[in-house]
C-alpha cells in the first residue's frame, strides 16, 4: 500500500513537472500569463508530492518492509533507526528520490519569492527547474524504482517488480542485507546530503541565468537575485567536501583525507567552477563586464553538477564511492549533452546583447587579477576533468584501462594552487578600474618582504629545508598579513573618519560589507587549511612493523608499544579485531589507542578504523594491518605521523563560518534590493 502510494506520487510529480515546464514555456512564448501562473502552481505541487514519496520510503525502511527490494538492500534488523532513516540516500534509487526532493524544495522556494519586478524570468526559471526535476523523477519512475517488491517464480528465480508478475509468489526476506558498512559512519550520514544540497542549489542560479538569456535581459539582475543562492550552494558543496575528507580520514584507513578518487573529483569540479563564478560575478556587478564568461561558468557548473551525480550514480567509474551500478548512464549522458548544447546555443544567440559595458583599464586592476584567478581555477578543472575522463577514453580506444592517480593530480595542480595563493595575497591590494603596476607594487613589496619572516623563521628554528614547503609557508604568511592589514586599514579609516572606537569600526566594516570581509575570512580559512595540506603532503612520515606483545615500533619522536589484541563478534554482524597499543612521545606516556579492523559478514567487506592521537601540532595515526589470530603474536601495525593535519579541519570550520557570514542576509542588503530597479552606476573604485 505504502509502496503503491509512494510510486503513484512519483508518477504524479513527473506529470506535474512536465506540465509545469510545458505550460511555462507556452505561457512565455505566447504571452499568456495564465499559463505561467498555472505552471507555477504545478511547480509548487511537486514538493508535497515528492515529500510524500520520500516519507513513504522512510516509513518502509523503518517499518522493516523487506518485501521491498530497496529496503532489503540497504537496511537490516541490526541497524539503528537513524541509519534506517538515512538509508534513504544510502542506495541508488533512494538517493535519486532525495535529489528530486531537494530539487522540488528549491524550485518551490524560488516559486514563492516575490516576482513583481522579474516577472519575465519566472516562466524560464520554472522550465529549467521542472525539466531538471522531471529528468530525475523519470530515472526513478522508469529505471530505478525504489518501490519495487521482491517476487519469486515457481522455479525459485527471484524477480523484482512493483506489481505481482504472473506465475510468481511474494518473497519476503527475513532480514535485509544492511547498509554498505562504509556508509555507517556519522560523517557519511551528513556528507551526502550536504553535497546534494550544494549540487541542487546550484541549479537555481543556473535557472535564473538561463531565464535571463531566454527573456533577453542583459543586465546583472539574475546575478543579484541569486547571489545568496550561489553562496549557499557553494557553502554546502564546501561543507560536503570537507566532511567527505574527514570521513575518509576516519574510516577509509589510508592516513589521508583526499585521495583524488574520481568521485571526490566529481564533487570537486562544480566547486571549482562555482568558486571561479563567485569571483567573476563581482566584476559583472561592479563593472558590467564578463557577461558571457559568467553565463558560461554557471552553465558549466550546472553541467558538472549533473555530471557529478552521473559519475556517482551510474557506476561508470568504479571507486570507493561508486557503490551503485545501473543502466541510467546513457540517460544522464543524453541529458548533460542536451542541456549543455541548448544552454550554449541560447548564450550564442544572445552573444551580441551581452557585450561588456566597460573595458579593462589595466592588467594590474582587480578585475584582471580575478580573470587570472579564473584561469587558474579553469586550469585545475581541466586537469581534474581530463584525469577522470582519460581512463574511459583509454579503455574505449585501446581496450586498456589505466589508473590516473594522485601523483598526476598533485604534479599537475601544484603550481596552479601556488598561483592561486599568490593571487589571494595580491588581489586584495589591487583596485578596480585604472590601477598602475607602480601603485600595486608600492602596496605589495613591503608586505611580501615582511612575510618572508615566516620561511626564514621556519628555516632557522624548525630546520625546514624543503624549498616547496618554504615557498608555501611564505605565501601563507603573505596572505595572512595582507588580509589582516586589509581589516586594519579599513577599520582605521572608519575609526578616523567617523570617530568610532576601533573595535566598533572593525565590526561595522565587516558587517556592512559581509561579502568582501566574509570573503577575506574565507581566505584565512583556506590558508589555514593550506598549512595542514603542506604538512601532510610534504612532512608526513610512516612506518610499518610486525610486533609481538610488549614490542615497540618507533617513528620520529613517537613510540608505539603493542599491548594486546582481542577479536569478537558484534550484534550488528561484524567481526571486530581490536588492538590496544600504548603511545609514548620522547619516552613520555601519552595514552592508549585502539586501532581495529571490522569485517562485515554480510557484505564480506573489511574496514580499517585507525586509532588516532590528535593535537594541534600533529596526529599520530595507527592502523591495524594484520595479525595472527591464534598465537596473538606477530601483529602488524602501520603508523603515520601527520604534522599539522588539524589545521585542515580548523581552517575548514573558519571557511564554513565565514561563508555563512558572507551569505547571511542583511537589512541593508534587502533595502538595496528593494530600491535598486536597475544596476547601480558602475563604481570606478
Amino acid at each position: 500500500m505504502l509502496a503503491n502510494l509512494g510510486y503513484f506520487s512519483l508518477v504524479l510529480t513527473f506529470v506535474a513537472a512536465l506540465y509545469g515546464a510545458g505550460a511555462a514555456a507556452y505561457g512565455a512564448l505566447k504571452r499568456k500569463p495564465v499559463f505561467v501562473e498555472s505552471a507555477r502552481h504545478a511547480m509548487l505541487l511537486t514538493w508535497p508530492l515528492v515529500t510524500l514519496a520520500a516519507v513513504s520510503i522512510i516509513a518502509l525502511l523503518v517499518g522493516r518492509h523487506y518485501e521491498v527490494k530497496y529496503v532489503a538492500s540497504v537496511t537490516s534488523d541490526a541497524m539503528p533507526t537513524y541509519l534506517k532513516v538515512t538509508a534513504l540516500w544510502g542506495g541508488q534509487a533512494g538517493s535519486l528520490v532525495f535529489w528530486s526532493w531537494l530539487m522540488s524544495a528549491f524550485a518551490t522556494a524560488a516559486g514563492l519569492r516575490r516576482w513583481d519586478r522579474d516577472r519575465e524570468l519566472l516562466p524560464w526559471v520554472i522550465v529549467v527547474t521542472m525539466v531538471t526535476l522531471a529528468f530525475f523523477i523519470s530515472l526513478v519512475v522508469f529505471f530505478e524504482n525504489p518501490f519495487q517488491r521482491l517476487w519469486q517464480t515457481l522455479d525459485g528465480v527471484q524477480v523484482s517488480a512493483l506489481f505481482q508478475p504472473k506465475g510468481t509468489i511474494p518473497l519476503v526476506p527475513t532480514d535485509g542485507q544492511g547498509l554498505n558498512p562504509l556508509l555507517r559512519h556519522p560523517g557519511m550520514v551528513i556528507h551526502p546530503p550536504m553535497l546534494y544540497l550544494g549540487f541542487v542549489s546550484f541549479v537555481i542560479p543556473y535557472a535564473f541565468g538561463i531565464a535571463a538569456l531566454a527573456a533577453g535581459r542583459s543586465d546583472d539582475r539574475w546575478i543579484r537575485i541569486t547571489r545568496r543562492w550561489t553562496l549557499v550552494a557553494w557553502l554546502f558543496l564546501s561543507l560536503g567536501l570537507i566532511l567527505g575528507g574527514r570521513w575518509a580520514y576516519d574510516v577509509l584507513g589510508w592516513g589521508g583525507y583526499w585521495g583524488w578518487d574520481p568521485v571526490e573529483i566529481a564533487a570537486f569540479m562544480p566547486w571549482l567552477t562555482g568558486t571561479a563564478f563567485l569571483h567573476s560575478v563581482m566584476i559583472q556587478e561592479k563593472r558590467g563586464m564578463l557577461k558571457h564568461w559568467n553565463m558560461l561558468l554557471i552553465i558549466l557548473t550546472y553541467s558538472l553538477v549533473i555530471f557529478g551525480t552521473f559519475l556517482t550514480r551510474s557506476g561508470v567509474l568504479s571507486s570507493v564511492h561508486a557503490f551503485a551500478q545501473s543502466a541510467i548512464g546513457p540517460m544522464f549522458f543524453g541529458f548533460i549533452g542536451l542541456t549543455f548544447v541548448v544552454s550554449v546555443s541560447l548564450l550564442i544567440n544572445r552573444w551580441g546583447e551581452l557585450r561588456g559595458e566597460n573595458h579593462l583599464d589595466s592588467i594590474f586592476a582587480r578585475e584582471s587579477l580575478f580573470l587570472l584567478n579564473n584561469l587558474l581555477f579553469m586550469g585545475i578543472l581541466i586537469v581534474c576533468f581530463w584525469g577522470v575522463l582519460f581512463p574511459l577514453i583509454s579503455e574505449l580506444f585501446t581496450g586498456q584501462k589505466v589508473t590516473v592517480g594522485p601523483p598526476f593530480y598533485e604534479r599537475a595542480t601544484g603550481p596552479l594552487w601556488i598561483g592561486l595563493m599568490l593571487l589571494m595575497g595580491v588581489a586584495p591590494l589591487s583596485a578596480y578600474g585604472a590601477s598602475s603596476g607602480r601603485s600595486l607594487g608600492r602596496n605589495l613589496w613591503k608586505l611580501m618582504a615582511l612575510s618572508l619572516v615566516v620561511p626564514v623563521a621556519l628555516y632557522s628554528f624548525s630546520g625546514v629545508t624543503l624549498i616547496g614547503a618554504l615557498i608555501g609557508y611564505w605565501l601563507i604568511g603573505f596572505v595572512i598579513i595582507v588580509t589582516l592589514v586589509e581589516f586594519w586599514r579599513g577599520a582605521l579609516a572608519r575609526h578616523r573618519r567617523h570617530a568610532e572606537s576601533f573595535p566598533l569600526a572593525l565590526w561595522r566594516l565587516a558587517v556592512r560589507n559581509r561579502r568582501r570581509y566574509g570573503g577575506y575570512i574565507i581566505h584565512l580559512g583556506v590558508v589555514l587549511m593550506a598549512i595542514g595540506i603542506i604538512g601532510i603532503e610534504m612532512f608526513q612520515t610512516e612506518t610499518q612493523g610486525t610486533l609481538a606483545r610488549g614490542e615497540s615500533l618507533s617513528l620520529g619522536q613517537y613510540t608505539l608499544t603493542y599491548e594486546s589484541l582481542t577479536q569478537f563478534d558484534t550484534a550488528d554482524g561484524r567481526n571486530v579485531a581490536r588492538a590496544v597499543v600504548q603511545v609514548y612521545r620522547n619516552g613520555k606516556y601519552m595514552g592508549s589507542l585502539y586501532p581495529r579492523r571490522d569485517f562485515y559478514y554480510a557484505s564480506q567487506q573489511p574496514m580499517t578504523i585507525p586509532g588516532v592521537r590528535s593535537t594541534l601540532e600533529d596526529d599520530f595515526y595507527v592502523l591495524l594491518v594484520g595479525w595472527e589470530p591464534i598465537a596473538q603474536q606477530g601483529t602488524t601495525f602501520k603508523i603515520y605521523h601527520n604534522p599539522g593535519v588539524n589545521f585542515v579541519w580548523m581552517g575548514g570550520l573558519i571557511f564554513i563560518a565565514a561563508t555563512l557570514l558572507a551569505a547571511w542576509p542583511t537589512r541593508e542588503y534587502e533595502s538595496l534590493r528593494q530600491s535598486t530597479a536597475v544596476r547601480p552606476a558602475i563604481a570606478r573604485v
Binding site: 577509509l252 584507513g253 589510508w254 592516513g255 574520481p262 568504479s318 571507486s319 570507493v320 573595458h359 579593462l360 583599464d361 589595466s362 592588467i363 580573470l371 584561469l375 579553469m378 586550469g379 581541466i382 586537469v383 581530463w386 582519460f390 577514453i393 585501446t398 586498456q400 584501462k401 589505466v402 589508473t403 590516473v404 592517480g405 594522485p406 598526476f408 599537475a412 596552479l416 583596485a431 585604472a434 590601477s435 598602475s436 607602480r438 601603485s439 608600492r442 586599514r489 579599513g490 579609516a493 573618519r497 566594516l509 560589507n513 610512516e542 612506518t543 610499518q544 612493523g545 610486525t546 579492523r597 573489511p606 580499517t608 602488524t636 602501520k638 542583511t666 538595496l672 563604481a683 573604485v685
Partner: protein
C-alpha cells in the same frame, strides 16, 4: 695422544669450512615492511580501484604485497617488480599511466589547454586594455586617500 695427522685433518677441515663460509654469499636481511610499502604505495590492484596497494585491507592485496616482498628478497629492483605486475595485470596497476602511446595525451592536454587559455586571456588583455592612467601618490591619512574614498563609497552603497 692424538696423532699429528689427526690435528692436521681437524685444522684443515676447519680452514676449509671457514673458507667455504666466507665464500658463500652473505644472506641479505629480509625486506622490511617499509620497503614493500614504498613500492606498493605506487600501485593499485584492479579490484580495489582507487585504494593504494599499501593500505588496502583485502586479502588479495595482502597477497600482492607478499609477492612484492618475495621479489625484493630475490633481489629484484623496484622497476622490475612494477614491470612484472604490469605484465601480469596491465598498466592500470600503476598510479600514473606510463608515458607512451595514447597515454601521452593525459600529460600533454591539460598544460596545452591551460596555455591556450592563458594566450586567449593575454589577447583579451591586449584588446581590452588601455594604457593605465598614472595614479598620483596619496597621503595615507588625507581625506583624499583613494583607499578611504573607495571604502566609504562601498560602505555607502551597502547602507
Amino acid at each position: 695422544m692424538h696423532s699429528p695427522s689427526k690435528w692436521f685433518a681437524i685444522v684443515g677441515a676447519a680452514l676449509i669450512g671457514l673458507t667455504l663460509m666466507a665464500s658463500a654469499p652473505s644472506q641479505p636481511p629480509p625486506p622490511s615492511d617499509d620497503e614493500v610499502n614504498a613500492i606498493a604505495h605506487q600501485m593499485y590492484c584492479p579490484v580495489c580501484e582507487n585504494v593504494p596497494l599499501d593500505v588496502c585491507p583485502t586479502e588479495a592485496c595482502a597477497q600482492w604485497r607478499a609477492t612484492i616482498r618475495e621479489k625484493l628478497a630475490e633481489g629484484w629492483s623496484e622497476s622490475q617488480i612494477k614491470d612484472y605486475f604490469v605484465e601480469q595485470y596491465g598498466a592500470r596497476v600503476l598510479a600514473s599511466p606510463p608515458a607512451r602511446g595514447l597515454n601521452w595525451l593525459v600529460y600533454i592536454l591539460p598544460p596545452a589547454t591551460f596555455l591556450a587559455g592563458a594566450y586567449i586571456l593575454f589577447r583579451a588583455f591586449r584588446s581590452w586594455g588601455r594604457p593605465a592612467e598614472p595614479q598620483t601618490p596619496a597621503e595615507s591619512d588625507s581625506k583624499d586617500d583613494p583607499y578611504v574614498a573607495r571604502l566609504e563609497e562601498e560602505l555607502r552603497r551597502r547602507s
